[in-house]
Symmetry: C2
Subunit: 200 residues, 2 copies
């Protein structure tokens, strides 16, 4: 077996297998694909990987990934700096930016409270959020953590921390997703959609 | 949008998206995972990627990926060098080695004949296979191309090329896979299993 697989190949397979959602089979497939493909793809990947960490940092204001300091959003005077959307991950910022319907700024927590995984409030950027609110310029905090046990627990923790600060605290509407088929909507979502029903 | 995603991040997402089976969504997820994970994972991946091509080459005998020349299998005197299994890809060598039931050597074609994709016999290592057979030491060529249109066409082309050389040419048995459920076996497989039925 070892004779059939040279060390540089197994090494890349092992490294790729450490990525989430990439099992040993996918890792082998990708590795042998890279072996067949022109050199520049693996080189390009190698360079991108190296520069990912060396060239980026966290924005000292919102904790999003950035090259400049502050990040493009925090440094944009045309955005509304009195409204802050709080998200778990940088990818969530992207998702909201893609809607094209939000003009405020962000705060990235880098996770959610999860006792099972040993993640408490102090492991997240919650203190930094409280600090931003304490400066007094923020009027509304929109908590956009993921809808689910951990995200909801995080949202409620944030609400408690900010409740006395005189800032408006909101969260995203819960309901049935657009284009969803009622038949396939889970019952918690359906229950919340019923509870939150509006005038037609 | 561009403001929310720094260039090193989009660059890695773009590179990863070029991998087979990795769409833009998976690429983003992997990139942001790497951003969160300790530095050594992206560094380890970058180094493995660089060494994949610089440290490996194709075995001049069987065309498998190798560090040494000849490869560990071709250089192994304890193996049976008179029997050659012909496969499409290096991963197929692995699959056969894993069975632990083959003691011969290999020949990697690096693909299969595929007119649709513009791959003809000359794009594969078929001439090299004929050359190995012409040397006269090979008694049996077991064609183990993938069961399917392209693999079968390749097998038949190889048979034609080698037919006059006095070498035994075989291919893998076709039938229902072990553990398979008859109900889910496709009809071509089932037809072949019937045609090739043996004494109970």
């Amino acid at each position: 077996m070892s004779k059939a697989v040279p060390e540089p190949v197994t090494r890349l397979i092992d490294s790729l297998s450490r990525l989430p959602g990439v099992g040993p089979k996918t890792a082998s497939r990708l590795t042998y694909y890279l072996l067949r493909s022109p050199d520049d793809l693996s080189q390009e990947l190698a360079i991108s990987l190296q520069e990912l960490k060396t060239k980026t940092r966290f924005c000292p204001i919102c904790n999003n990934i950035t090259v400049e300091v502050p990040c493009g959003i925090c440094g944009d005077d045309e955005r509304d700096h009195r409204t802050v959307v709080v998200v778990e991950e940088p990818l969530d910022v992207l998702a909201i930016e893609r809607t094209g319907s939000y003009e405020g700024v962000y705060h990235v927590l880098h996770g959610a409270i999860s006792p099972v995984n040993g993640i408490g409030p102090d492991d997240l950027k919650i203190r930094e959020l409280v600090g931003r609110v304490d400066k007094g310029d923020i009027l509304e905090v929109i908590v956009a953590t993921n809808p689910g046990l951990e995200g909801d627990a995080t949202a409620k923790y944030i609400k408690r921390e900010l409740d006395s600060k005189g800032v408006k605290i909101t969260w995203l509407a819960r309901g049935i997703p657009t284009g969803g088929d009622l038949e396939y909507v889970d019952s918690v979502t359906l229950m919340r959609a019923l509870q939150g029903r509006g005038e037609l």
